[in-house]
Symmetry: C2
Subunit: 337 residues, 2 copies
């Protein structure tokens, strides 16, 4: 079985770990958001790809959710001693080696997808059935428009999130480079060949949003043979992780599990999803979304550990398959077989 997962960083990587447990025999390709990527101190940093790689490869600091276990911060402190800015980014010593290798390969002309594959030869050596695909080899960066008192200015998403802790209101968002970006090699083919496509519970605005905004990816999802099953990261009207509640207003979407599902939309209505999973605490949202045409089920979505996550993914997938089966009986979709 070929599974494709769309995902961001911290939550996304936990979701993929769960999917790995749920379907141990499947080939899993993860299309990872790269719009959080940033260049600092001359180093190209890909937070979501790295979080995914470290998590799946067993190198993550699982308490913090990002960065390496047994990390130290000597280079960062030393850069600060030189008075070099920015000093707010969590640049660990072990992590830095990854950025050095990446930056040097990029400077040598390798595309990000090839660099990611090279880095994964270390981290995913023993998991050949798991591969990470950056959404694009092109440089795309999410910038957030804030008012800092002296007027509106656009800052990199990392600055908004890491330095400002998403405190200022996000007035607008710009995805620099997105219109000129193309999907990385393997991305569209993976979607076309998939038996199952999962949209992880990552941030709909700055994680899943950029992936879907890469020209070609939305259309590939819409035309995919595989059922597309989405999972809400909003539980009880708030994100489990991160700052989606601070950013959803920018795209005019309510901080609500039904609203996010309907933002992705139901496939028969031109949207992306065959089925939507919300938390068991959001039964009302499930009814709202279903009534609005998006088949939605409420299950326990808290990712306590890979086993729990695997359980709700299997249950979500079963629900998605039943939705597809029903619709096939009604002649609404072609039989992929």
């Amino acid at each position: 079985m070929q599974i494709v997962i769309l995902a961001g960083g911290v939550g996304g990587s936990r979701f993929v770990s769960g999917a790995r447990s749920a379907y141990p025999e499947a080939d899993i390709s993860v299309i990872v958001n790269t719009a959080d990527d940033i260049t600092l101190h001359g180093l190209r940093i890909c937070p979501d790809l790295d979080t995914m790689m470290y998590t799946l490869g067993g190198g993550i600091d699982s308490e913090r959710g990002w960065g390496r276990t047994e990390e130290t911060w000597r280079v960062k402190d030393e850069l600060a001693a030189y008075g070099v800015e920015p000093s707010w980014f969590g640049l660990g010593d072990l992590d830095l080696a990854t950025h050095l290798v990446r930056t040097q390969m990029l400077d040598a002309g390798y595309p990000l997808s090839a660099v990611t594959a090279a880095l994964c030869t270390r981290w995913l050596r023993e998991q050949p059935q798991l591969r990470l695909l950056p959404m694009s080899d092109d440089r795309v960066e999410t910038h957030i428009v804030i008012d800092d008192g002296s007027g509106r200015r656009a800052i990199h998403f990392q600055e908004y999130w890491v330095r400002l802790h998403a405190v200022p209101d996000a007035l607008d968002m710009v995805r620099v480079g997105i219109d000129q970006a193309t999907a990385a090699p393997g991305v569209l083919r993976a979607l076309a060949d998939a038996d199952l496509i999962l949209v992880g519970p990552s941030n709909p605005v700055v994680s899943i949003g950029p992936i879907l905004a890469v020209p070609g990816i939305r259309a590939a999802l819409q035309s995919a043979q595989a059922p597309v099953v989405g999972f809400s990261g909003i539980l009880g009207g708030a994100p489990v992780l991160g700052m989606a509640h601070r950013l959803l207003p920018v795209i005019g979407v309510e901080v609500d599990a039904a609203a996010v599902g309907l933002h992705y939309g139901a496939r028969p209505a031109g949207g992306l999803l065959d089925a939507w999973l919300v938390d068991s605490g959001d039964a009302a949202a499930a009814r709202t979304a279903t009534a609005a045409g998006l088949p939605t089920r409420a299950v326990d979505l808290v990712m306590h550990d890979p086993a729990t996550t695997a359980r709700f993914i299997r249950s979500g997938v079963d629900f998605g398959l039943s939705v597809r089966a029903q619709r096939m009986q009604l002649g609404q979709v072609r039989d992929a077989s």
Copy 2:
């Protein structure tokens, strides 16, 4: 008083520390060899400048003689875990921050001399009368030709010294880029304005040699008003530090304190030096060099500590001044006053 010192790394920085002690009121400019510089992992590394900066700024690991005190090697080990070569270079975590700052400034278009001044705002903040000048802002690299069994090949000096420990015979030497190099801003002016010029006991082939080979620097030394006093790094037929004995044969110079002095040459004979200092154990070399026209004195040249070093520098300078005074009486030099 304006003092200019020509120097390399480990020995050179100890010599400069001694000069600092010897003449606490003087303005000291150090013209530092940059032909050892190397780019590794995308980082521009200037070993001699860094050793000088860390030593004079109190950050050196004084037992090892290079690199930072309380250094760690986490990034280096992590690069090795990625299988990234080369792994033989001693790239410490604290040291790496220096290279990151330097590389980013160079990439932004600042010349090495400006980068060095910027880095020194941290290290030499409290020593405004001490400044480090790279010999050149242009990229110059010493390559050593060896025979590795399958034929002759040229390798970077750092590979010869750090990886191969100077074991293979050096068959030849190439200073890549030297002909096109120009002296860094401030270098020629410092030599012209100096009251005293000291040639440190650094390697005559790969430390002092490249400085003298930068077009314009040799002529500036020859025409300088100041007395030029040189100090031998060869004691009793062997270098105190480093691998000068492995490289002197390449330039056809005997591993001998008199031979090195005569290689620099006496000023009246078109050479560089007014006076040459050899170790008290090399009294025969002192006689040989003096007889050959280079006024030479034997004193204890072992750099036990800055105080000892200061003592022999003062004694060498006094000797140099007496040689100049004598020669002025003989009408061989103009009075600088």
